[in-house]
């Protein structure tokens, strides 16, 4: 009796519900607080002169705040996406059912992506009300790219280690620091850091994407490709490895 086709698709509603309860509400609250604390005082001080458009001197701040909210949201969303079930032992009952762990977690990754985009839609709608030139669609495009880029690596780390939140933050920060340090220096180190996650491309991509809805194709492909590669590696590791420790 393995009927009931689309069981995993039906289960996606439970996965989305879990996202909203466990992560979505937190992302929206943190995003609102982050925006309010950093942007509202400036808006109040500057009044009508605040961020009227991309040429405004405060526009880079808007970009910095909103892009960092995306990174934070992805970090919250991907935290423990696989490792929690393994750490807590929830995998035992889940995967005694006729379900592929690879398909289950691949679906979870995309359900959480939808969840993150819904959260970003809410936050960007509020932002648009405060700063009318802020384009919701551009922001959602940027969020989708970062979800795949950062989330793909996060997914892999969550499959490979129990300390995924910390490891992803360390990888993200470490890549940026190592690139700043060695990227321009001659020798093998500069070539080696090229293999690290392309976090250095985020500043340019975020400014360009959120402002204009476009970004250099090579940068976007590099970000998406890197994330997609690690997502695929995560699925492979899940397929080949053990669910139990």
């Amino acid at each position: 009796m393995s009927g009931g086709g689309g069981k995993l698709a039906r289960y996606s509603l439970w996965q989305f519900r879990d996202f909203v309860m466990d992560r979505g509400i937190a992302i929206v609250i943190i995003g609102m607080l982050w925006g309010y604390v950093l942007i509202e005082p400036m808006r109040r001080t500057m009044g009508a002169a605040f961020a009227v458009g991309p040429l405004s001197p405060t526009w880079p701040l808007v970009i910095t705040v909103t892009s960092s909210v995306v990174s934070l949201a992805v970090l919250i969303a991907l935290n423990g996406i696989v490792s929690t079930d393994r750490k807590m032992g929830y995998y035992r009952f889940l995967f005694s059912k006729p379900v592929s762990a690879v398909a289950y977690y691949a679906q979870l990754f995309f359900v959480y992506m939808v969840g993150v985009l819904v959260c970003m839609l809410l936050l960007s709608t509020v932002m648009h009300m405060v700063v009318p030139t802020f384009k919701i669609v551009n922001y959602l495009l940027y969020a989708a790219i970062i979800y795949v880029a950062m989330g793909g690596i996060g997914f892999f780390i969550s499959v490979a280690t129990r300390f995924d939140w910390l490891t992803l933050a360390a990888v993200w920060l470490g890549s940026r620091v190592l690139r700043d340090f060695y990227g321009a220096k001659p020798g093998w180190r500069s070539k080696a850091v090229e293999l690290l996650p392309p976090v250095h491309k985020l500043n340019d991509v975020s400014l360009s994407m959120i402002t204009n809805g476009t970004a250099p194709t090579s940068d976007v492909l590099w970000l998406l490709g890197y994330g997609a590669l690690f997502f695929a590696l995560g699925l492979l590791l899940l397929r080949q490895g053990s669910l139990a420790d």
């Binding site: 069981k7 995993l8 807590m88 032992g89 929830y90 009952f93 006729p98 379900v99 139990a244």
Partner: protein
């Protein structure tokens, strides 16, 4: 006798369902230390059989089950279910599994947890409420169905774990320490449930510390220790076994002549004796003679169950 399954009359003609073939599992730490959890384990489990797995703590029971469900990859050997690699079989067919540690998200409600598992089990959506209600009814969880999992007592959580394993009409059931945390009433109820589950086309594995439980429920019991199969014991009250057996004998009359029939009888209380016999036939013959000469037997109780004795011998040997 390690690694050699005992012959079983019923099982000779039954189809092979689960096969452990020379399975080993070694855990290695990052520092290079290694621990052998399971070694050279070979065993076949047949359709319609209830197989018990007994062993002391740390013997490797749970590791074996994890490999059987495909949660762990064996370091050596293979585990197959119906000719498929274990994980592949479980992914396509599912099994009813009750783990030793019941790990269900504590934020979930008891009944919605069952709905989730039923959805994953592939039960058609319109049939899910009936399956969930039936499982709740069977496990006596009606008054707890609205509670969060974190609010359930140990026994109720154990029953919820069993309920999710019984949601579907599974061909294979794997129950790891199933009565752990259950009160005596529910321990007995569990035994009745397992007896009801016995079916010619269903295979059931029960890992337990409780030898009495395995003696009552299982057809055969695999005794493992130090990750190795020590022996497989048929629990069908094997009267032909030749090893010594001790009984507690209580006499209402004739105790002054007890040593005529049981020369090694040891006093264990007023009119109570521990006697050692070579076989059940020898015991019956001695008792018949005793009774024919005016003795009255009030009670004969095995000092240890067959399984317990085998277990002690097997675990003792492995040490």
């Amino acid at each position: 006798m390690a690694g050699v399954p005992a012959p079983s009359d019923d099982c000779d003609t039954a189809a092979l369902v689960i096969e452990f073939r020379n399975v080993g599992k070694t855990y290695r730490s990052l520092l290079g230390n290694s621990v052998k959890a399971v070694e050279e384990f070979s065993l076949q489990v047949n359709e319609g059989e209830i197989l018990g797995i007994a062993g002391p703590n740390g013997a490797g029971k749970t590791t074996l089950i994890a490999m059987m469900l495909g949660y762990l990859q064996p370091t050596t050997g293979t585990v197959e279910i119906n000719g498929l690699p274990a994980r592949s079989y479980v992914e396509h067919n599912g099994v009813g599994y009750l783990s030793e540690l019941i790990a269900i998200n504590p934020k979930w409600r008891a009944d919605t947890a069952l709905v989730r598992y039923a959805t994953l089990a592939g039960i058609p959506e319109r049939e899910i409420p009936a399956h969930v209600d039936a499982a709740i009814e069977k496990l006596g969880l009606a008054e707890h169905r609205d509670k969060k999992v974190k609010a359930l007592s140990k026994g109720n959580l154990q029953r919820l774990g069993l309920a999710q394993a019984l949601l579907r009409d599974e061909e294979i059931l794997v129950l790891d320490e199933p009565t752990h945390g259950l009160d005596p009433v529910w321990t007995q109820r569990f035994r009745d449930i397992v007896e009801d589950l016995r079916r010619p086309d269903r295979t059931i594995l029960i890992a337990s510390h409780n030898l009495d439980e395995l003696q009552r429920l299982a057809d055969r019991v695999a005794i493992i220790d130090h990750g190795r199969l020590q022996r497989v014991v048929s629990t069908g009250y094997d009267h032909s076994r030749q090893s010594a057996t001790r009984f507690r004998l209580i006499l209402a009359k004739g105790h002054e002549r007890i040593r005529e029939w049981f020369p090694d009888a040891e006093e264990a209380g007023k009119d109570e004796y521990d006697v050692t016999v070579g076989s059940i036939q020898e015991l019956n013959s001695a008792l018949a003679d005793l009774i024919s000469k005016g003795g009255l037997v009030a009670s004969v109780v095995p000092e240890r169950s067959v399984l317990e004795q085998q277990f002690r011998e097997a675990v003792g040997e492995s040490k």
